[in-house]
């Protein structure tokens, strides 16, 4: 051991000691740098420990959201994401290997609302839109989606061979947009052999046998057109480019459907299509023949060749087994009932997309990788083929027509609101009332036959063709008027294009339904009938002017048609309802469209007395 060796050792000793002192100093400095007091909000039921409030002042939260969602009860991260446990901004806000849920994007925040706000009427626009679209687009036909019923609007395929020509099916499966620019069915990107196989299978499906069309009476196309107008078919169907889009365009459907099938369909709708949304019309043979004649004349292009006729050719029955397999594989039976049965889900259940991380989902082969789950869904819906793995797997998801970007994102938001485990029951808000179940017996049969629920809403359920929910219809309308309306629906709301169709009810049926509606659909907010006193009508007339009722209503032959006409209201409206409306405001009005008047009881009674004194004028405008 030489002194030189020792000098060397001393140097290392000194250096190591200094290094340790410096490093410990750095460690202490880091500790001191942390916030010394940590403020946090605990929500044990949600497993939430949110220390966000250490830095963020909850009193400065924008908007009024915290009035209904106090931080003490909801925490921060259930709505905003991020890591509530963290005590540094970086760890709290950003993703890390140990924390895959950074702060939510706008779309993810909406989806987070949807985790507690269930139902299609959830008060978040994107969530509600998305949930409705999941049903309308038929997503729930192939995927099991909690809270979304399977679609009911795809036509049944029984007896398809009686309804359309093979060429039409070929054209439709090749490119439906060519036949109907507004088509709803997605395209499955089928090859020609696949289409032939499917066609062969569809042609094996038996339907209810067609009755022979009698030679007499002969149909007349002009009379058919006026019959369509008289029955108000345009409320749902478009023809000659006018009318609703709730049902197929008659200009297009007319040429596709075989006349014999159409005649059978119109004379007894539900015999051929027991699950259709269309009311059970039982047209007279003459009317049916006229409409069939009208339909056959429609949309003949200049060439004289219908767009699908070039797809002509024989059906090859031997391909049916292959077509049946394809029918199952593609999941056609998820939307289209066959023999009244729906096929089981053919695609993965979408019951926990809200728990998934976008990094775990398959990446699209093309385009930018989506930033979050809603964006991933949107991309998948808009470009299903972008998720193909070349030569390995063809995307099974069909291409949906005319999907706007905002609708696609809403779909993603709705799906990202679905979690495997719901929040505790006390956190949930169900924005949907219990489904309306029609009563048994004759009433139920009538409701089913005339398909009231296809257009009208009862308790938040049902179709949205009609703007008038039937929830308190019995308290609003007089039974006698309702009975007449069911038989011959006069127009009350001039401003709305949707009109009640002429359903062809018998007097007994109309009386039965009117009695049921006025008995069952009451409203406890509407009191007993008012007792008018002399002078009410005169005072009411000046109140009518004073409150400018004529700005929306027609009364005594003058005014505008924004609201229902008031001439003849005495036959239509229950006096108690009119008083309640004027006193309580729009809460009792369907659609809540009436302005907020809230008159004093005396004034309400007087104005009601005047309105109910108005007689029916000679000429009620007919559309």
């Amino acid at each position: 051991m030489t002194p030189r060796d020792d000098r060397w050792l001393h140097a290392v000793f000194a250096a190591a000691s200094v290094a340790i002192v410096v490093l410990v100093g750095i460690a202490v400095a880091r500790e001191v740098h942390r916030p010394l007091t940590i403020d946090q909000r605990l929500v044990p039921a949600l497993g939430v420990v949110d220390r966000c409030v250490t830095c963020h002042d909850e009193a400065k939260h924008p908007g009024a959201m915290l009035d209904r969602h106090p931080v003490e009860r909801f925490g921060c991260t259930p709505c905003h994401g991020g890591q509530g446990l963290a005590t540094s901004a970086n760890a709290a806000h950003n993703a890390a290997p140990d924390w895959e849920r950074p702060l939510f994007s706008k779309a993810e925040r909406d989806a987070a609302c949807g985790a507690c706000h269930l139902g299609t009427n959830a008060p978040i626009a994107t969530v509600a839109t998305g949930r409705k679209a999941l049903f309308d687009r038929g997503c729930s036909g192939c995927h099991t989606i909690p809270g979304i019923a399977p679609p009911d609007h795809a036509p049944e395929l029984d007896g398809l061979r009686d309804k359309v020509a093979p060429a039409w099916v070929r054209a439709w499966l090749t490119d439906p947009a060519q036949l109907d620019a507004q088509h709803k069915m997605p395209t499955f990107r089928l090859t020609k052999p696949e289409i032939e196989a499917l066609l062969a299978y569809l042609w094996t499906l038996p339907g209810a046998p067609l009755l022979p069309v009698p030679a007499e009476p002969q149909g007349d196309a002009d009379r058919g057109k006026s019959t369509l107008a008289r029955l108000r078919c345009a409320t749902c169907h478009k023809f000659e480019d006018r009318g609703g889009d709730f049902a197929p365009d008659l200009g297009l459907a007319g040429v596709k459907v075989q006349p014999a099938w159409l005649w059978n369909y119109l004379t007894d709708t539900h015999r051929l299509r027991p699950h259709t949304r269309m009311p059970g019309f039982r047209l007279a043979p003459q009317d049916a023949a006229d409409i069939a004649a009208y339909a056959a004349e429609q949309w003949v292009p200049d060439t004289g060749v219908l767009p699908w006729q070039k797809f002509d050719g024989d059906v090859e029955p031997a391909l049916a087994p292959k077509g049946q397999q394809l029918f199952v594989d593609l999941g056609c039976g998820g939307c289209h009932l066959v023999a009244g049965k729906r096929a089981p889900p053919s695609a993965p259940a979408l019951d926990r997309l809200g728990d998934r991380h976008v990094a775990d989902l398959p990446l699209p082969a093309r385009g930018r990788p989506p930033a979050d789950v809603p964006a991933w869904v949107a991309q998948k819906v808009q470009q299903p083929t972008a998720f193909d793995v070349p030569s390995v797997q063809r995307a099974r998801m069909p291409t949906f027509p005319n999907v706007r970007a905002d609708e696609a994102l809403a779909l993603g938001i709705a799906l990202a609101s679905v979690h495997a485990a719901s929040p505790p029951e006390t956190w949930l808000r169900r924005h949907e009332t219990a489904p309306f179940v029609p009563p048994p017996g004759e009433t139920g049969q009538l409701v089913a036959r005339f398909r009231c629920l296809s257009c009208h809403r009862f308790g938040g359920q049902g179709g949205d063709v009609s703007r008038v929910p039937l929830d308190n219809v019995g308290a609003r309308l007089r039974q006698s008027w309702l009975e007449g309306f069911l038989r011959v629906p006069v127009t009350v709301r001039m401003d709305q294009p949707e009109r009640m169709p002429v359903l062809g009810m018998t007097e007994a049926e109309a009386r039965h339904l009117a009695g049921w509606l006025t008995t069952v659909f009451g409203d406890e907010r509407i009191g007993p009938a008012p007792a008018f006193i002399p002078g009410d009508v005169e005072r009411g007339k000046s109140l009518y002017v004073q409150h400018q009722c004529g700005a929306c209503h027609v009364g005594d032959g003058a005014g505008t048609m924004k609201g229902p006409t008031l001439d003849g209201a005495r036959d239509r409206l229950e006096p108690a309802y009119v008083v309640a409306l004027l006193q309580l405001g729009p809460d009792v009005v369907p659609e809540r469209r009436h302005p907020e008047q809230r008159l004093l009881p005396d004034d309400a009674r007087a104005l009601a007395a005047y309105v109910l004194s108005l007689p029916v004028l000679g000429a009620v405008p007919v559309p």
Partner: protein, 383 residues
């Protein structure tokens, strides 16, 4: 007051600061902490290249791991519901929680590496030969214990990394014929990694294995002294016999000072590591979300790589024969030629074979760690 200080000091330290060699020797034998060492030491054994200080580093690491481990135990709950949350508490609220966990994590990895290198050094210098056979076997045992401690500690954070690494490790153990499945169930307390496994690993990691380790370390150090200190060469020019006669140096201060410096350097390096790099943590363990590929801890990835080729031959036979072979070596290779030097001509077969074995394990470990991607497919570019 000065009297009091004097009395307290005198009661603690039986001899004063040594002023000559005789006092130094007396100091060494009269203190329980210093008496682990022999009072005098050969100059050759003090040279850095004689040991590369690996044994001392291992002991220092064991001490630091014990200290940091006890601190971590104050905040850790061995139950799946809260174990991962404990990591979050360490990260966000516990004073010095982050650096303590980092020190423990990097110290554990370092200890696996250092103990392995220590074994390599002892083998290459022939340190397993008579009369040191038993101590070599004890050393092999310590090496296995170090791996076991690291492996049991790996599960405790209860994140995805821990959960699946231990699942893979337990499955590899399950490949042992006959014994495998019972052993696996004994280890996990269940058929899969769950709350029973976490509790067992916790007890093993914090109680049983450390006690065993301390006991064997005591034996190991005691035998180093009793077997005549470090193995030395007859021909080493620096050895006491040729140049400086039989003159030995007192351990105080020569050995003790060097050990102190090694301890300080080890601490400094580990502190630096702990300040620069955070211990890994992944999301909460989720049995329904298997990472692809699921990998064992890095020191078992060589075995996992071999097990990929053959579950029995690679995953069981090769590791078992390696450990048994290591224990058996001193009882077969007993000649004393070339002992105390690295790569002497007389021992080129033994050195070559052992280096080849270690290189083989190093290579498969690197392949398994860096070059295996999803589905255990080869990736030429590590990610």
């Amino acid at each position: 007051m000065r009297e009091l200080v004097k009395h307290v000091r005198a009661s603690l330290f039986r001899v004063g600061w040594p002023k000559d060699e005789r006092a130094a020797v007396k100091a060494m034998v009269s203190s329980i902490t210093l008496h682990i060492h022999s009072p005098k030491v050969r100059p050759a054994s003090l040279r850095f290249r004689a040991t590369w200080a690996l044994g001392v580093i291992a002991v220092v690491l064991a001490g630091m791991l014990t200290a940091t481990g006890v601190y971590l135990m104050f905040y850790y709950y061995p139950h799946p519901d809260v174990a991962w949350r404990s990591m979050k508490d360490l990260a966000f609220v516990v004073p010095f929680g982050v650096i303590t966990r980092n020190l423990h994590r990097w110290g554990a990895h370092a200890m696996v590496a250092i103990v392995t290198l220590h074994m390599l050094r002892v083998f290459l210098s022939g340190g397993y030969k008579p009369p040191r056979e038993a101590n070599w076997v004890a050393g092999v045992g310590l090496w296995v214990l170090t791996l076991a401690l690291s492996f049991t500690g790996y599960l405790l954070p209860w994140d995805q990394l821990a959960y699946w690494a231990v699942t893979v490790g337990a499955n590899m153990a399950g490949a042992i014929p006959w014994l495998g499945q019972p052993l696996r169930v004994l280890l996990l307390g269940d058929m899969t990694v769950g709350e029973a496994a976490l509790l067992r690993f916790y007890v093993l990691h914090c109680v049983l294995l450390p006690l065993l380790l301390f006991g064997i370390v005591g034996f190991h150090l005691f035998r180093v002294r009793k077997d005549g200190g470090l193995v030395t060469s007859e021909h080493d020019p620096a050895s006491d016999r040729t140049k400086e006669g039989h003159r030995l140096l007192p351990s105080w201060p020569h050995l003790v000072y060097r050990e102190l410096i090694v301890g300080l350097l080890t601490t400094a390096v580990l502190l630096l590591l702990a300040l620069v790099a955070n211990a890994p943590l992944e999301p909460l363990a989720d049995p329904s979300r298997t990472p692809n590929p699921a990998k064992a801890p890095w020191y078992f990835l060589g075995i996992q790589e071999l097990a990929h080729w053959s579950a029995f031959w690679g995953g069981v036979f090769v590791p078992a024969i390696t450990v048994l072979g290591l224990c058996a070596v001193p009882f077969f290779d007993r000649h004393m030629d070339g002992v105390g030097r690295y790569f002497p001509r007389e021992r080129r077969v033994a050195s070559g074979l052992f280096l080849a074995l270690m290189t083989f394990f190093a290579v498969v470990t690197v392949i398994g760690t860096l070059f295996r991607g999803p589905a255990w497919a080869l990736m030429w570019w590590p990610n």
